[in-house]
Each structure stands twice: as C-alpha cells, then as structure tokens.
Amino acid sequence: MGRTAPEPVQVVKQRRDAALHALVSGVPYISFMGIRFDRRGDELTGVLSFEDKLIGNPVLPAIHGGVTAAFLEVTAVISLSWAFIWEDFESGALDVEALAAGDLPRLPKTIDFTVDYLRSGLPRDAYARATITRAGRRYASVQAEAWQDNKDRPFAQATAHFLMPRHDPSCE
C-alpha cells in the first residue's frame, strides 16, 4: 500500500499560522481594537486584550457595549472567512505566500447582527468563539459567544447573517 508520508508538523503549522495572520492583519480595525486569534487546528478563539480605551462606562467601569458587539462581529467574520478558505489553502489551491503578500480573499459582508448583553463586561481580557450554523453559497448564519472568567457564563452572545463573497475562479 502506497502511503504518502504526513507533512512535517512545522510545515503544517507554518502554513496555517501564516494564513491566519494574513487574514487578520489585513484588517486595520482588528489591530485598532487589539483583537488577536488563538488557533487550535481549525478552531479559532478571539482574544480581546483589555485597554482603557475600550471602556464604555467609566463609573463601573465596564467595557463599552459597542466594543463587545464589535468583538463578536470580528470573531464571527474571521471565523467564517477562515472556514471559507480553509480547504483551499490546505489543498494548495490558495497560495499562502500570495495571501501573506496581501492577495486576500474578499470578506463576507454583514447583512444583520444582533447582540444580547447578558452581564456587564468587566475591565479585563475577553474571549469569543463563533459557530457557523449555516454555510450556504450566498448566505451564512453565524452565532458567537463571548466570556471572560468563566466560559459557562458568557457576558454576551450574537447571531449574525452574512452575504458570502463570490467564489474567485482564479483560486481554482
């Protein structure tokens, strides 16, 4: 039986990390907010590092509701886009070097976004994960949840719909 040897671990990691970095670092607003992404295989976790400029209520103090919404939206868009390109860069159809050079895939466009505030966002780091509940050719539905100290006690959750980018034939 002819088996191809598995790729060396550093090759796999380098490719995936480079693809993620290209996707995230291309968006100025994500840098402005100080959001980064941790990756375990294809699973992404958004990390929002607390900074004073994220405060919405200086008396409490609490994270601005708009920051929480933005964090969930960024996590949803990046997670969706990541899932959308995963197959292509894993198979080599999408060149990671071209990605890193700025030849990025078009991002999904938000159609609507609903956020529920469950408890006050404390002045400390926050984490978020998104689940793609429907990934169609044109439309996608995504749910996202953010937590701080305890994952079972989210401080906000969101549901969003996106218009997917047209599949670029040059990537095929």
Partner: protein, 140 residues
C-alpha cells in the same frame, strides 16, 4: 428637557473612553433623541480592499447614540445599559465620509426604553444601517 439634563448627558458621553477613541462628537441631544457623528478614520477600516469602515465601529456608534437618547429622556432618571441591539447593514458606507447616527426613544416604561436608530454618511437619503434596541432604565 431641561438644559441641565442635556448638559449632564453630553458631559457623560464625552467622558466615555471608547467614544473618544472613535472620535465621536455629539451633534444634538434632547428629550429622548440623540445625534452623534463619527469621523472617517483609516484605523476603523474593516475591508482593506474597499476601505469601508468595519461594522463593529458602526455598532459602537449606534450603541452610544442609543444610550445617549435614553439618558436624555425626561422619564429616565439615571444611567442605562444595553439589553439587546440589532443592526441591519443596508449598504457599505462611502470611504472618507463621516457616519452620523440618529437615535430616538420611541417607547419607555419604568424599566425598559425601546430605541430606533439610523446611520447615514453624507448621503442622508440612503441610510447605511438601521438599528433597534432595548435599553435598561435605571435609578427608579
């Protein structure tokens, strides 16, 4: 609404670090209505190809504007917090143009304020986004 209440709401909004970070400026605030402008800034770009502002910054603007409208309402004695907010993105905002949100409290009870908001760029006939939200009424 008394001038005092408008001033208190205005001062409170201006002390919000994130509103300041996004360069928000209060255009008008009165009796359950608020209008806030957010200038265009390259740091807020969400799509590097089209240079369109990220939806997250628009959410922050809508949320701040909704909260300001609630705080300025004569039946809202003190602070407020967002319960939920839904934003519909109707079109991409034009790059290099400021976005202005206008929010109004269309119903208020002892506990909850219901808010509608619209965001426009320089073309005020075609909104960029609309929002509806529920906010707490605190201090009763």
């Amino acid at each position: 609404m008394t001038a005092d209440k408008a001033d208190i709401a205005r001062q409170f909004i201006q002390t919000i670090p994130h509103a300041t970070a996004l360069g928000m400026e209060i255009i008008a605030i009165d009796d359950g209505m608020a209008e806030i402008m957010m200038p265009y800034d390259d740091r807020f770009i969400g799509d590097p190809e089209t240079r369109v502002i990220h939806g997250g910054a628009v959410s922050a603007l809508m949320d701040t504007c909704g909260g300001a409208a609630v705080m300025s309402h004569p039946d809202a004695p003190a602070g407020t917090a967002t319960i939920d907010l839904r934003i519909d993105y109707m079109r991409a905002a034009t790059p290099e143009q400021a976005i202005t949100a206008r929010a109004e409290v269309y119903h208020i009870t002892r506990s909850v304020a219901f808010v509608r908001a619209t965001a426009c760029d320089e073309d005020s006939d075609r909104p960029v986004a609309t929002a509806t939200g529920a906010f707490t009424v605190e201090g009763h």
